[in-house]
């Protein structure tokens, strides 16, 4: 009965709380260059003490001397439970380099340098890992493999002790595609960007310069003008997006978001004055610079190597363009067909611009004053 009671007490009080400590993790951070895998393995000292009983004097305080004295055992333990092999099964024998220490968020770790050498450059790398699984079923090994084409990550668990990482570049293309999608999504879900684009496009099928709008006589010049505007916007936002995403310029997001809202309002209000001079492409370029800074927030993590960064930026930009083109393609034919009607000139351009301007003013107030 006592046993049951204890178990029950445990079950009940466990119910509402996750464990209060982070579970045990080890980190395998390696880089593959041609035939060599080099990097470091970080294992928590508490974990090493569990498997190797490092605390020689048994006082509960693990010193550098106690760790250093067991260096050979630490190396043997790690290398017997971590191995690398090429796709044909040929092993890439590993050897240990220096032993040092580092701290992670949950304590001190031993850091072992490792180097594994394959007979030839592998197309895929198989990593086998079984540190601590016999003692701690919640232990996880977290692998980060940097290759010339990108970063691969994998997690080892008691039921996932081997990971095969493809190195043929398909991962890179997949990542590129995912950023294209991200770019499309960003346009589709960002009401302010759509509003800005519409504000620019609404008068594109009309000719101003007088007190009233006149319908444009032919489609071709309209298309040319729209292409100029969209291209100017694209070039401008690509410039600032790249600068911001690569960390070369940093503008507070509150300022950027406020300016974006302001640009939408200015653009929409300009549509209400047909007589005013049009600066289509120049205006689009100027505001494109501001919008690019806004896109950058969507690209917080670009990856560490130059290739990944470039692929990410290109993919995201391409996605943004595709999203914009979709909006243009959906909007322009209808606008051109309806351009002669009073409904379009007064209703769509007039009231539409007014509505967009009103909305943009609300956004601006919210963003600028943090309401």
């Amino acid at each position: 009965m006592r046993r049951v009671v204890l178990l029950i007490a445990m079950a009940l009080s466990l119910a509402t709380r996750a464990e209060a400590h982070k579970a045990s993790d080890a980190f395998v951070d390696v880089r593959l260059t041609d035939t060599e895998v080099t990097g470091r393995v970080d294992v928590a000292l508490r974990d090493l003490d569990l498997v190797l009983a490092l605390d020689r004097d048994g006082d509960g305080a693990l010193t550098w001397g106690e760790l250093r004295a067991r260096r050979a055992d630490v190396e043997a333990y790690v290398l017997s439970r971590l191995s690398f092999a090429a796709e044909d099964g040929s092993a890439c024998p590993a050897r240990a380099g220096g032993l040092s220490v580092d701290s992670h968020s949950d304590g001190a770790y031993a850091v072992l340098s490792v180097t594994a050498t394959c007979a030839r450059a592998p197309e895929s790398l198989r990593v086998d890992y079984s540190l601590l699984f016999d003692e701690d079923a919640l232990h996880r090994g977290i692998l980060r493999l940097e290759t010339p084409t990108g970063l691969e990550t994998a997690i080892f668990a008691p039921d996932a002790r081997a990971q095969v990482l493809e190195l043929d570049g398909s991962g890179r293309f997949g990542r590129f595609l995912s950023f294209v999608r991200e770019g499309v999504h960003h346009i589709a879900s960002g009401a302010d960007h759509v509003a800005f684009l519409l504000a620019l496009l609404l008068p594109a099928v009309l000719i101003g310069g007088a007190a009233r709008w006149r319908p444009a006589p032919a489609f071709r010049p309209v298309l040319r003008e729209v292409a100029k505007v969209v291209t100017a916007f694209t070039v401008a936002h690509s410039i600032t997006l790249s600068l911001a995403a690569l960390g070369w310029v940093h503008v507070p997001s509150r300022l950027v978001e406020s300016l974006i809202a302001l640009s939408v309002a200015v653009c929409a209000l300009a549509n209400l004055r047909p007589a005013a001079p049009r600066f289509g492409a120049a205006l689009a370029f100027g505001f494109g610079l501001v919008h690019g800074l806004g896109f950058a927030s969507a690209l917080a993590d670009l990856g560490s190597d130059a290739w990944t960064r470039v692929a990410t930026l290109l993919g995201f930009n391409l996605g943004v363009e595709l999203g914009q083109l979709a909006i243009v393609a959906a909007f322009l034919p209808f606008a051109f067909l309806l351009r002669g009607s009073a409904l379009y000139r007064r209703g769509v351009v007039g009231l539409g611009s007014l509505a967009v301007a009103g909305l943009a003013c609300v956004w601006f107030t919210e963003r600028a004053f943090g309401l």
Binding site: V5, R17, A20, A23, R40, R46, L50, W64, E135, L138
Partner: protein
């Protein structure tokens, strides 16, 4: 009876200002998997880490059990003994490494065609601790399939159903214990369920009376009932009583990390942050306690909160790397109450609410929803309140701390 959750305090305080917000973004951006750079000490006597003191009775006991298991690898008895003890100590200290050792001891037993009932029950408890509720219920199903009246299985099931926010189903599971278990356990099980289904006052009184009639109950049982009473009293708005219950539980089991966290929450709610800071000073190892310490420091305007908050955020990031997000509720509190990041807090609170629906989950969801000005998310919580008749007199927003 209607829901009484009060909705006070719509927005989190903006104490730290934009500078700190930007600083935390920079920190987020800079943090990689590993910390700065490994280094090689030059002094052999430098202490790197406090490890389990091998002379402590608990460590000696675990070492003995581990040796017994190694000596007879095919005998399930030593493995079960090790798992049981490691789980028990892991629960008390909130140490995931010990829970992991329990599960490792169980692994070979669970791999057999027909694992023993006790192995399955311990396994279910580990899964429950990992917040793998569905998996835990499946494991319990296996036990009940062969032993339909197993009291431990029904009780654990009742607790999981309660955590998932289904007090009526939980009460039905408690009812299966009748005649199978000591009446105090059944009373506690039922009172917990009823207290979240519109009968808070009555179930509190009933359980308190029951505990008074059972002076011989074992300390572990008493401690747990006191904690349950403390939780109910807190929801009744009776802070002094709640504090007395939690302190009684702590007196019976001073090392219980969860009880210490409960006490800290009560004190923080009452604006007694300086007591929390004093009692939790130096508690950086346990995330639960470190969070309360950070909240107290933040409420007191103590700059130490910044480094502690960053440490908690770094741990959350590392936990996410391993694919675990069991701390969403705690992370949400940090995001909202310290960082003032309502959208992030709401995202976390919603994630937590999808898995577990305890009063604390509801409270942070409402708080975050109001701070983020998201009526749909708040409605999610209000609908749940209306459906279950959960009562909670505490303000949604914790009290301001006074230095």
């Amino acid at each position: 009876m209607t829901a009484q959750l009060q909705l006070r305090g719509a927005r989190p305080r903006r104490v730290i200002g934009l500078g700190a917000v930007f600083a935390s973004f920079l920190y987020l951006g800079a943090a990689a998997v590993s910390a700065a750079a490994p280094w090689t000490p030059t002094d052999d006597s430098l202490v790197l880490e406090q490890v389990a003191d091998p002379r402590s009775p608990e460590a000696r006991e675990l070492t003995r059990l581990q040796a017994a298991r190694a000596a007879a690898p095919s005998d399930p008895a030593p493995a079960l003994a090790l798992a049981r003890r490691a789980l028990e100590l892991g629960r008390r200290d909130g140490d995931a490494r010990l829970i992991g050792r329990a599960e490792a001891a169980l692994a070979p037993l669970l791999a057999s065609d027909s694992p023993s009932t006790e192995a399955l029950l311990l396994h279910a408890t580990v899964q429950q601790n990992r917040h793998e509720f569905r998996a835990a219920l499946e494991t319990l199903e296996r036990v009940l399939a062969r032993d339909p009246r197993n009291p431990q299985a029904w009780l654990t099931r009742a607790v999981i159903e309660l955590v998932q926010g289904d007090p009526r189903r939980s009460l039905a599971s408690c009812a299966r214990l009748l005649g199978r278990l000591d009446s105090l356990w059944i009373a506690a099980c039922a009172a917990q369920a009823r207290s979240r289904a519109g009968e808070l006052q009555a179930s509190y009184e009933a359980l308190r009376a029951h505990l008074e009639r059972a002076p011989d109950a074992p300390p572990s049982q008493r401690a747990w009932v006191e904690l349950a009473l403390g939780e109910m009293a807190a929801r009744l708005g009776e802070t002094a009583r709640a504090e007395a219950h939690v302190r009684a539980a702590l007196a019976l089991d001073p090392g219980d990390v969860g009880a210490r966290a409960d006490l800290a929450d009560l004190l923080l709610d009452a604006g007694r942050a300086s007591e929390v800071r004093d009692s939790l000073a130096g508690e950086t190892r346990s995330d639960l306690l470190l969070l309360r310490l950070t909240l107290a420091e933040h409420a007191l305007g103590d700059p130490a909160f910044e480094s502690h908050a960053s440490l908690l955020e770094a741990r959350a990031r590392e936990s996410r790397l391993r694919g675990a997000g069991v701390h969403a509720r705690e992370e949400a509190r940090l995001a909202l109450e310290v960082r003032g990041d309502a959208p992030r807090a709401l995202e976390l609170a919603r994630a937590s609410f999808a898995e577990q629906r305890e009063p604390a989950d509801l409270r942070i969801l409402l708080f975050a929803a109001r701070a983020a000005d998201d009526p749909a998310a708040a409605q999610l919580a209000l609908d749940f309140l209306a459906a279950t008749h959960l009562e909670d007199a505490r303000p949604v927003r914790p009290a301001e701390g006074k230095p």
